[in-house]
């Protein structure tokens, strides 16, 4: 158990981090998936009394990761937004200051299904349909691609670990043949229970620490 773990994927070293991020030193790129910014505000507008603060907390976690890895690029593997942000939303208030704090980075997003809502917003970011990085293909929806190792999100993989009557459920990195699925980064995102097949590996991310499961 520790907060980060080095792995070799497609012959390259990458670091998994317990705060649900992946760092690829080859291109000095920090990758997270499914931030779902603005989900709390979206729920509140529809009558669910979720307190605000989660978007800010997610930005703070992202800042800590950036300070830790000092990446040259920050890439979000889709679903940057949960829904189209509306005026007065806490995320939009916090975003300019956060950008100023990391002025050297221009966030890049591989477009996900939720991001269609963001069309036409001027946020000074770079949007990609997909992105190739070293041997990797970066996408939102992680379908295998021949000749490349896919890094994606979309699924929000989670796993329930059992030990007798006890059990713990947490987001996981799901390491499959030719595909690695990142856990959702956003603090208010749910998980989708996965069933790893033989030969696949699962690394649990719980409270900032990583637990590779045998």
């Amino acid at each position: 158990m520790s907060d980060s773990l080095a792995l070799t994927l497609a012959g390259e070293t990458v670091w998994l981090h317990g705060d649900r991020a992946l760092f690829y030193p080859g291109d000095s790129a920090l990758l997270v998936a499914d931030t779902h910014f603005g989900k709390g505000a979206f729920l509140r507008r529809r009558g669910l009394a979720v307190p605000g603060g989660e978007s800010r907390a997610d930005l703070d976690r992202l800042s800590i990761l950036i300070e830790h890895f000092q990446p040259a690029r920050l890439i979000v593997l889709g679903d940057f937004f949960h829904h189209r942000p509306s005026r007065g939303e806490p995320f939009l208030d916090a975003w300019p200051a956060w950008r100023a704090r990391h002025a050297l980075l221009t966030p890049e997003v591989v477009i996900g299904n939720h991001d269609r809502h963001a069309e036409g917003l001027d946020l000074d970011m770079i949007w990609h349909s997909h992105l190739d990085l070293g041997p990797f293909r970066l996408v939102h929806d992680p379908y295998p691609v021949s000749g490349r190792h896919v890094l994606g999100g979309h699924l929000h993989p989670a796993y329930r670990l059992h030990g007798g009557a006890d059990s713990v459920r947490a987001p996981v990195f799901w390491l499959r043949e030719g595909v690695t699925v990142l856990p959702a980064f956003g603090g208010l995102t749910g998980g989708w229970p996965i069933r790893p097949a033989r030969g696949e590996k699962v690394v649990m991310a719980l409270d900032g620490d990583l637990y590779p499961l045998p």
Binding site: A41, R44, L48, A49, V50, G164, G187, T189, D207
Partner: protein
Amino acid sequence: MPTAADGLAAVDAWFARQGWSPAPFQRRGWAAFRDGRSGLIHSPTGSGKSLAAWLGPVSRALDRGDRGGGLRVLWITPLRALAEDTAGNLREALDGVGLDWRVETRTGDTGSAARARQRKRLPEALITTPESLSLLLSYKHAAQRFQHLDAVIVDEWHELLGSKRGVQLELCLAWLRARRPGLPVWGLSATLGNLDQAMAVLLGGAQGGQPGGERIAGDSPKTLTVRGLCPDQVDRFPWAGHLGLAQLQPVIDYLEEGRTALLFTNTRAQAELWFEALAKARLDWITEIGLHHGSIDRRLRQKLEQGLRDGAFRCVVCTSSLDLGVDFSPVDRVVQVGSPKGVARLMQRAGRSGHRPGADSEILCVPSHAFELVEIAAARRAWAAGRVEARPPLTLCLDVLVQHLVTLAVGDGFQAPRVLAEARATHAFAGLTDTQFQWCLDFITRGGAVLEHYPQFRRVVEDDGVYRVTDQGLARRHRMAVGTITSDYQMRVKYPRGGSIGTIEESFVARLKPGDVFLFSGRALELIRVRDMTAYVRAAKGRRSLVPRWQGGRLPLSTELADTVLDILEEVAGGDYRDQEVQAIRDVLEVQLDQSALPSRRQLLIERSRSREGTHWFLFPFAGRLAHEGLASLLAWRLGQRFPATFSISVNDYGLELLTAAKVPPLHEDDWRALLTPESLVEDVLAALNAGELARRRFRDIARISGLVFQGYPGKGKTGKQLQASSGLLYDTLDRYDPDHLLLDQARREVLESQLEIGRLRAVLERARDQALVLTTPERFTPLAFPLWVERLRNRLSTESWRDRVARMTERLEKHADRRAGDA
């Protein structure tokens, strides 16, 4: 002009034509209603309660020459499955006395066309559930619908009392009373230990402003006999276990003598196993046996119930799913497998047989291990002595209040002072403070007490003193959520080509891999895949299968029963074996006495044994498994303050085990006195139990009821998915940003009160203060200790952090993997 006697004369005439005569309690019920009074009619079993309530309003309608037009009688039932049967019975009585009223049902099963028609014009008598009644308040002009209401009858009130659905009903009744002052409300209930309280809650508690209610005892029960099935050879009889299948053959013999039997088990898993065993043992009965439990598809269950009525079955294996409802007259045998758990429940089950005139009711109890024979004898004695369990009503469930407020806001809107007065007229919210009420208003209008935390929140809007929901999407989603107080996280079980078999808990399916075989609905099924909250299965052949463990049904042994068991054990210690069931296990009890001692109300038995695993302590307070779980954690934690050691814990209804591999000093009486002190109980329990996580789990229901999360539309797959957030995450989020949130507080309170039975735990410690502590050191596990050792509840000591727990679980997995690798 009709005279006041007309209605009752018609009733008498109908009774006479049937060859019946009204029982005195029925006459009392009719007279009390006709005097405009409210009350509670109770009896241990079926026996004419419905008519005692129903014919009051019916006879008065006859008096008045009532031609109908609008709702007169609201009939509340806890189970929608009962609604149709009830409607049939009520109609039969109307035909008999010649009153031309419409009787309709309105439940989650009612089609949308019928519901829309009912919204325009209600029938004279409506049979509905608490949820559906609540929903009626969420439509415009709600008060007009009830302007002719003359009576509310709440069937099986004991089932609702003590649950949040009961609280929901209390609020609806208060709303109705405020619009129809003096509205008579009648409850029908099985026997309870707190009947006066049950009536007071129904009639609006202390401040209801109602005249004192009338408590009417139904006919005293037919002879109810409780008999334990005593094994022939006690030496081969297990000291532990929970299936009771060792007794299969004598049970088959018993069934063979009768015509139609109900065989009750305590869990669905046990029901599946018994059904399978019966089917295997008697292939010739295959078409005459059935399986009935709450997870089996509703249509299959209905078919089965019809078959029971028609006498088409020799035996139906069932769980509490058949505890309620109209009687099946062909049933002449009732069997209870495993511990009866409570006196009232056992008697209710016994009462399901013998509905033929002159027939007595008998229940045959099949113990699954030796000590359960003592429980059976105890149940019989407690019943004879009138010691029956109470059901304490819930109070201050803010989640239910919040839901009710939004319901009213979706309907015609509400004014705060009026709604507060109505809420305080209920038993549940009599103690609601202004601050708590204001918090609820803030919660639905602003998201929470601290406005800045909930930017852009929008749900209920206040305009000129009236609170309303104006957004149609919100209104629709709220109505969708109202029906869900009881629903659980269930997955459908289906064949790929359609064909639904039932529902199963998600947590069980989550442990299965495609290809795994499990026993369900009496069939061996192989899991193909899981998609969209549905488990697709095919029939499996010949492989050993898993049995699902459903969450429900793990009731603790009641205090009334447990204390009677202790009384019997005290007699046994004095050499007195007066019950045949106790006599049957004399050998086992003597071994216990010989190796150690027997507990009683006056002495608490504490055994210490050593094994290769380490040091075991066994305590036998006989307080039920929930209180023992709390006590075990508490003791482990307090022991951990004295010396470094971690403990495994095991509990059952009789006692608890603490096991540690660490070197520990012997504990003397003084040590135990200190460990068992009731002082700082709550603080220590909270520290011991990692209560935060328990509360987090508990929060799931609270979040759903209060509308903090939206579950999506049932059966509609992914619709509404964008609105979903897990209640666990939400708990964490609230805990971080709005720690004073009153619903978090409620979750913690529910953990203490319902999950850990803190009241009972405190009673154990207070009793222990006056008890003699009997410390023994048997060389081997005693008959009382052995079941605990066997059933070593794969429990954890919850003082461990997540970190340690995950580390330990992964370690287990590794060991397991190593072993498999070693085997290969």
